[in-house]
């Protein structure tokens, strides 16, 4: 009986708690790159502002959001800022097709089993986390971002308050 209880407790604890809030350190576990092979991590961008965007090719709102993120990346992506896409619980071929279809030029990681999404505490896709150069979450959007939100809330935080 004790053994059964112990195993159940271990199982529950091994699942762990999840989620990240404003001001907290964003998870930096390495993930495979969606294209090109190898692993990548949020930690690779320490010292830059990063808009972490969880998405999936089967997600309808993500299709509307992707062009906005690409436009924002084109205008603001530089040594101080990048969008970082995380393709979550998606087929890798579908994810790559999505990237090509929308011409996304920002880096993409692959989160096939949803472990990173779990670490961030996402409830679905898309979700967005603006992470500051010290790795802390500064903005959190559960759902798609709009062009207005990017221009009015994200851009002013970037170096020089670019908009």
């Amino acid at each position: 009986m004790l053994a059964v209880f112990g195993l159940l407790t271990f199982g529950l604890l091994s699942k762990g708690s999840s989620g990240v809030g404003l001001g907290e350190a964003a998870p930096t576990s390495p993930l495979p790159r969606l294209e090109g092979g190898g692993d990548g991590s949020l930690a690779d961008y320490r010292g830059r502002w990063v808009l972490v965007n969880f998405w999936a090719s089967w997600c309808v709102p993500c299709r509307e959001e992707a062009p906005l993120l690409q436009s924002f990346q084109r205008r603001h992506g530089d040594a101080d800022f990048t969008v970082l896409g995380v393709d979550s619980r998606d087929l890798s071929d579908d994810g790559r097709s999505f990237v090509r279809r929308y011409g996304l030029s920002y880096p993409q990681l692959r989160d096939g089993d949803g472990a990173a999404a779990h670490d961030y505490g996402t409830t679905g896709v898309p979700e967005n986390f603006l992470v500051d150069p010290r790795g802390r979450v500064r903005l959190l959007v559960r759902g798609p971002v709009t062009a207005e939100y990017l221009d009015d809330s994200v851009a002013p935080l970037l170096p020089g308050g670019k908009s």
Binding site: A3, R89, G112
Partner: protein, 157 residues
């Protein structure tokens, strides 16, 4: 002459190849419904066969492509694990913590059998006299036998 013989041989090989079933197209070794009853829709948290979400539809299409390509059930499950991780499998794996799903019932059953055997042994021992002899062989004590004789002597039978 050699050219004509070669052409005839090539034609014969082509005809033979087309006559062999499955030579041009892969033969399915499993079905979408069979796989769908054994894997999960990771987003829905239900069996794939019960799910209708957009992600589930993509997953079913992926399985259908592999079935059409003649992949075995094991190969398709491996491909799904590569894409979605081990949680896509509906049945626990036989390793790590998941192994407890198989071991715990077996151990619990064995413990129950042993406990039942001990209980039966104790129950049977409780029914036996303390000295191990039979009840019938013990007979009355000398005092009881003497009193019985005295009682019988009072009666004129």
């Amino acid at each position: 002459m050699r050219v004509r013989a070669g052409a005839a041989l090539a034609l014969a090989v082509a005809l033979l190849a087309s006559a062999v079933p499955g030579a041009g197209a892969a033969t399915p070794q499993t079905s979408v419904s069979e796989i769908s009853s054994e894997v999960m829709c990771p987003v829905c948290g239900t069996l794939l066969e019960l799910a209708e979400s957009p992600q589930a539809q993509r997953e079913k299409a992926f399985v259908a492509r592999l079935v059409a390509a003649g992949k075995s059930k094991g190969e398709i499950k491996d491909a799904l694990v590569d894409e979605y991780g081990t949680e896509v499998l509906a049945l626990p794996q036989g390793s790590g913590f998941d192994l407890s799903a198989y071991l715990v019932p077996i151990v619990a059953f064995a413990v129950a059998i042993v406990a039942l055997a001990f209980a039966v042994l104790r129950w049977r021992r409780a029914g036996e006299p303390p000295d191990g002899g039979s009840v019938a062989a013990a007979g009355p004590s000398p005092e009881d036998a003497e009193r019985l004789e005295a009682d019988l002597a009072r009666y004129d039978l």
